[in-house]
Amino acid sequence: MSDAYATTDRLVSADSNSYDRGLDAAIALSVIGFTLGLVTLVNLVPPGASGSSLTTALGTLLAVVVGAVGITGLASYANVVPVTSQRVRGIGLGLVVSVVALTVLAALLPVTMATLLGAVLLVEALAITAAGVTSRLELVDTEPNMSAGLLSGVAFGAIGLAMGAAVGGALAGFGSLPWLIGAAVAGVSLFLLAILPREDLGSTLPTALVVGALGLTIVTGTIGVGWQWNPQTLSGGFTGGAVIPVFLLVGTLLSAWSAAKCRAGFGARGREYGAFLVINLNAFLMVAVMATIVVFVTLKGVGYAVRGLSVGALTALVFLTPALLAAVQFARTPAGTNDWNDGARQLFRVLPLAAVGALAATFVSVLVTGSPLRYSYAYTVQVNRQGQALDTALAVTPDTTVGPLLLLAPAVLLAVTFFRSFGSLRNVGTQSERTGSIRQAVPTAALVLVVLIGFFLILGPAPFGLPLGETLGFAAVVAGAVAAGGLAVTPLVGVLTSDGPTLADSAQREAPLFTLGVFGGLGLLLAALLLQPVAGINPRVGPVNLVPVVAFGAAVASLALATLTTVAKRSSEETITRRLLTEETRLGLVGAAGFTALVGLHVAATGVSFTVLGVAVSNEGSFSWPMVMQAYIPLGAEPGGIMPAIVGTVWLVVGATLFAVPLGVGAAVFLTEYAEQGRFTAVVEIATNALWSTPSIVFGLFGAAFLIPRLGGDESLLAGMLVLGFMLLPLVLITSRESIKAVPDEYRDASAALGVTQWETIKSVVLPAAMPGVITGVILGVGRIAGETAPLILVLGSTLNATESVDVIDGFRFVSGPPFIANDALLTASASLPTQVWAVIAAGVSGSPQMGWATAFILLMVVLTFYAVGITARTYFRRKLNYE
């Protein structure tokens, strides 16, 4: 830290006198007034509130303020987050004092919120006048300039003009001569008052006048709660309920600025403090608006959106596994010294693990006791244009069934995670001749299975009337599964039968068996598994199917392997052995997760459930979310959900991405790497930027008039995909170009110096380096088009409350004439999330607002997820780039 910083620090931390403390309190009061103005403007507390409702509202605010200031104060006292600035301390204290005072006043006096707010403005005016006069009389040490400056003079002139016009208009009528004169006089006098005196008076007196006038109007009831002004010329009018909060916002902003100037002693430093306060308040306002929108939509929509959500405890546990793993990983990161505030940090590290662990324990308890967890509440549906309350509940049931996809996703995630942390076991241990030949045979066997898959896929399970699927396919699947099972057990058997002196030595010696067993087993079993549905068979061993039994057994064997190596690691001393054993443990975990995933995949592919030890993996899973997993149910007791809209949005996004990303990235590569940077690239850049800002409805117009007649004449999903693709194209192009340009030229030079051709350089140097940026740009762009509505209402043809989802995958079929492949699903209308919200609006009184809110909530969550992922990825890659 340089000396300059130390000086500023000392200046800021200098002891404060009563002048300073008073102004800190005035700033704090302004901030409180500003907040209360916002609160009354949105009618959270009506301006007419008085008595107990007012006391309750202020009491809540008091609790919030005392809590926030108290915690910060405590942290500062304990030296965890030291707050040295006297200004911050003063304002913190001022916040508490002013809210306490307001609450006490509201409790003791029979006042309304409006009067109280008017009084706040009056107090502000008095405080600012006092501060200005004190400074002018040189009772305190300040450095005012000669004048407050022309800028604030003009600003006050404008405010005076407006206020004079309003007052004159109210007294003498608009359009009259006195009205004009009054406005002019008020404006000019405030202007003069601001610029003529020394700065300490010039920036306080006009403020005090304006703020005081606003406060008086409210306190005296000239503009009271019931006040209305409804001019004939306008179709609207003004009420006290709207005007009083606006007065308060303006007044407190002005007084905060002025008090801040006084606090920092006017002059250059005072202006800086004043301006910064306003800028900070503005930033606070922006964040508050954003948070309000998200929170508001969530509050309105979440009840309807998650109604009837129920999940089996075991499914929840499976779903929690990756989170548990992440929490463990987070808790493992090293945490500093034994100092107690390092201890606090360590606590924060362990906290997620504790939370996830507690959650998992709760689910286990549901499983053990067999009594479900339920949270019951009521939601509203629209029946005959009337709201009707229905009971519903969120539940965790003691169901031990797991859906195949819900098993597959976490298992694949875990397998990939473990595989990424797995390094290599090459050249470890002794390779016997037999393992070598098996190692060569496995790929051949897998290839045979793949060829069979292709064969059955093209010709069907019974080609030329021969039941090949039931014979040849059956044999292949059985052979593949048995071989895979054998491979998976090999390492376990190998380690246990090996004659090494210790367990660790055996494990190290048999290392080749590990990779062979896990990877070979996974590959073979996957191929055998995929052969089943195409050949139309499902071999059984007694009561259960063969493949999942093998997969389950292999998973158990792999888990046992992981346990065995962990045990071996505990008893071994050598670092190198420990490292190797860790690798082997990871490999075992990859196997366990991978084989578990195959169990899920088997059920998903064949549709036949699999039960072991009372746990069932079945297509009828125990996870139910009506809003997302059902279509609209007409005339039903329950309204159903919006699955068609979700499916439609997914397909739209997929289609648009498939169209735009190859084109955009290709064009970016050409424009940046091949084309000469000159007029042509500049024109393309300007044109893409212009296209990017083109109103989306214009794209819709293009799609409706050009694409639809050429795509069958009806509004269709394909037209929607293409239109969104057109919109995504410029963004992909712009962001890809930027990230390709950002790759340092040194990379290209170094590659060229090694004699690498230009295309090889692009492929293996430039594109990998630019990929994070491209991916981030695509994710953000997809987030944007996922919420795009305007073009879709012209081209998609969606209706409110669709009852069927589009089925694109099953829609593909071969036809004899050109174009040989047709897909009717792509050419039919579809629903989508944004158009669903629009349909609710367009339906007017017959639309269900609750469903609209819930749809808007889900849409918002989808879009924000894309944004969150994109922004996190960008931050991650940027950090990586900067620190490595």
Partner: protein, 373 residues
Amino acid sequence: MTEDIPTTEGETVSSEDRADGSTLAVGAVATTLVATILVFLFRPALALPMLLAFVFVTAVGWVTYQAEVARLLTLVATVLTVLTVAFITFFLFASALPAFLEHGTGLLLIPEQGGEARWFFWLETVLPSDSTYWNPLSGAYSLIPMIWATVVVTVIAGAVAGPLGLFGALFIAEVASDRLREIIKPGVEILAGIPSIVYGFIGFQVLNGFIQTNFLDDGASFLIAGIVVGVMALPTVVSVGEDALSSVPQSMGDGSVAMGATEWQTMKSISIPAAFSGISAAVILGLGRAIGETMAVAAIMASGTQFADPLFDVFDANATLTSLIATQYGSASESTVDVLFVAGVMLFVIVAGMSIVSQYIERRMQRKLKGQQ
């Protein structure tokens, strides 16, 4: 970049000794592609087999002469992108032409009714009148009220987004600490990501009721639409303005601080003036967003096709150019569609123009600042 690796097309194609093969591959790929496009335009039914042929040829070429084919493919992507842009522009203008020829300036300047020009339409905005500007049944088409509505909404939005956006950009670029910036900047980006239909739904469900109780309005109004659109344009202004402020060279600010100026003085007298053109580009771009905003406006303001009365009545409501297209297209007759295309072209030209102007301003500023570095 490319200057460092000098290549021209001829060199790339002929630089290797298997030049004949690569020329053949590139030629085959190009031919099938052109054939595919031609077939798509004239015999769409045969497009898919042609496309498959193209994919096959490309795959073969990729295996044998990867570099050349890759180069060709990126070129093709560029050409297709440029063609798409050009074609959308061309098609919009071509579709708008019939209506423009039929109604002439009547759409934009002097409204017509029953074939007669209404020269004194501006009087009707002062005097009460029940003649209409938009009635497809009687052939009365005029976009003037919608243009005016767009102007009103844009002005209100600019009044919201301009100052708030400037302060926001200042906060992010100059005031905020690094850690705070890491939070606020993505926050602003997320604000830009909230779909417009969500804003529209909030406006439709909540704000319209709010303005009815608090401003004695009978329903929808320019005021609410303008404020909402302003909030939506805010992130654009903030992020572009922040870029402009950040591109002011550090040395200029350092010089000012070395003279003993405070941070605010530096901001006020160095950063803002130096970045002024960039900030105005940000505001222009934000206004462009506001003009093109459709769904929030369409959801908040039920469509109307008359002038506000009086013109500055912000509590009145009327369709803007964008919401006119959105709400009228579904039920439009052919001649109405043509008129809607005129509205679309207007939007396209204005917004694209604003985008180009702001890009020009930004580039000029960058050049100037680079020169001073």
